[in-house]
């Protein structure tokens, strides 16, 4: 069953158009990887999906039309965006950051239980609750950013380059956790990633974006087998 349907999405900054009609669908509970070179518009695509920038075209999530909604409305509709650079609230404590994640939840929602749930995915956060988020390491901040997004119990999780600046071992661990979250919560995930190996390793579907257009789509296996992709993103020839 399809969950996210994007049709002919165009978006940009001021007069500069970056996305030129992007269409894609993601199945309920699936992980979709977006690959592409620097400046292709991957971040812009996620920003358009979470309402951070205005976009034209249509976006539906679980059948509900979300086109042109404001970011806070989209957050209430179940979209959680972990932005490029993580969007950590540095001076606030780890716990305050996490509680902010539950901001859109109804009063009386079981936020405490959700905090516990986040701690099972990211045990390190539990030991850092009272610490300023700015004092966490890069990897811990990325975990915090994902944990914070989960606090809203999203239907759709948008991850923008979670591996940015992290050691390979930490990155691998992070992707393992994303996969576990996807499996346990049935959250649909769209992940933008430079590390194509890892992204294709956990995704079912993948799309390659170049200069604002999707140039290749397919299952993760198909994309991995593509010679062009192998050369550009995987660093070897098939």
């Amino acid at each position: 069953m399809t969950d996210l349907v994007v049709e002919e999405l165009t978006a940009g900054y001021g007069d500069a158009r970056v996305l030129h009609g992007v269409s894609l669908t993601v199945g309920q509970g699936e992980i979709c990887a977006i690959l592409g070179p620097n400046g292709a518009g991957k971040t812009t695509l996620l920003r358009a999906l979470s309402g951070m920038i205005r976009a034209r075209g249509t976006v539906t999530l679980g059948g509900a039309d979300l086109t042109g909604r404001s970011p806070d409305t989209l957050a209430r509709q179940g979209i959680a965006h972990v932005p490029e650079g993580r969007g950590t609230f540095m001076p606030l404590t780890v716990e305050e950051n996490l509680r902010l994640g539950a901001y859109v939840r109804r009063r009386g929602a079981d936020v405490e239980a959700d905090l516990d749930r986040i701690h099972t995915y990211f045990p390190v956060l539990k030991t850092r609750l009272k610490q300023a988020a700015g004092s966490l390491s890069g990897g811990e901040q990325q975990m915090l950013a994902i944990g914070r997004a989960l606090m809203s119990r999203p239907r759709l999780l948008l991850l923008d380059e979670p591996s940015l600046g992290l050691a390979p071992l930490v990155t691998r661990e992070l992707f393992r956790i994303v996969q576990a979250i996807n499996a346990e919560e049935r959250t649909t995930v769209v992940v933008v990633e430079q590390n194509a190996h890892l992204a294709l390793g956990i995704a079912q579907q993948a799309h390659v974006l170049e200069t604002g257009r999707i140039v290749l789509s397919g299952t993760a296996e198909e994309i991995r087998a593509d010679e062009q992709v192998a050369q550009s993103y995987l660093g070897y020839r098939v």
Binding site: M52, A75, A80, F89, L92, L100
Partner: protein
Amino acid sequence: MSNPTETNAAQARTAAPPPPPAPPPAEWWRSARWRWGAAALLAAAACYAPFQLVPFHVFQLTMVLIYAVALLGLNLLVGHAGQISLGHGAFFAVGAYTAAILLEHWALPYPLTLPVAAGAAFLLGLAFGVPAMRLRGLYLALVTLAIAIFLVPLLKRFEDLTGGSMGLTLAKPAPPAWSGLAEDQWLYFLTLAVAVAAFLLCAGLLRSRVGRALHAIRDNEGAAEVMGVRLSVHKTLAFAWSAMFAGTAGCVYTWVIGFVSPDSFTVNLSITLLAGLVVGGLGSLSGPVLGGLFVMFVPGLAQDINDAAPGVIFGLLIIAVMYVAPTGLAGLAGRLIRKIPRKE
């Protein structure tokens, strides 16, 4: 024979691995006991002081509290929501004049002027919060400065209501017979009660979901927005609450001084408030009190040196604070406390 569960528990205790190393001790000045102790001490001192000081000093202390309430509001806006206002003296003036007009023309009992003045300032803050939704930084500073600039001529214009340049002179609230207090002491305790209530309200607000939203906006607008925080609503409300505290302070000012005139509320007041807050400590709970001391005493002290000195001294103090203690006096005090060795 002993209870079997007890034996099991005992065995478990002996078999248990050595306890993990204790977590690092919480910083002692943050501990609840220390905080309550300090608060109780402060409360006792605050209640004792007016019986020990001469009336003029009691009056000065009262004024410090009034400015602290105004700074509490400004701190909410600048320190917590990350906005700026160069016109907070105007909200203070609106509270002061609302109270004065109600007392003068409607002969309202003075306690009732407080909610009306606070409400009027809240509404005005809401109105001026709307431009704040779209403006930021320098532009917002200019718009708020404009409020402060055009207030004085406006007050002079509606002479029938405001008394024009002459202002309005009012009777001060008289101490009730049962209290046995002198006028200055009564005014002091009234102000203290308002200040304590304002502090509790502000602290509650900051601990709530609203406080978290404001901090999120201050620290990262984009990230706050995608988490569902409505920027426009919170920015506008931050202005309104902030104005409400300033208006409350203005109302108490009218009670205590018994006189309002346009020249008490020039742009200078707005600038002094902002300077006081920055020196006192942005975003901290004790910053407004330290800032209140600044607003009350520094302009006067500077004036004693030279008529032109206040401007120079303000400028130098702000620059000095920015270099030496960017978190203000409150931050400096915190750092000093941390240096005191901890008793085991």
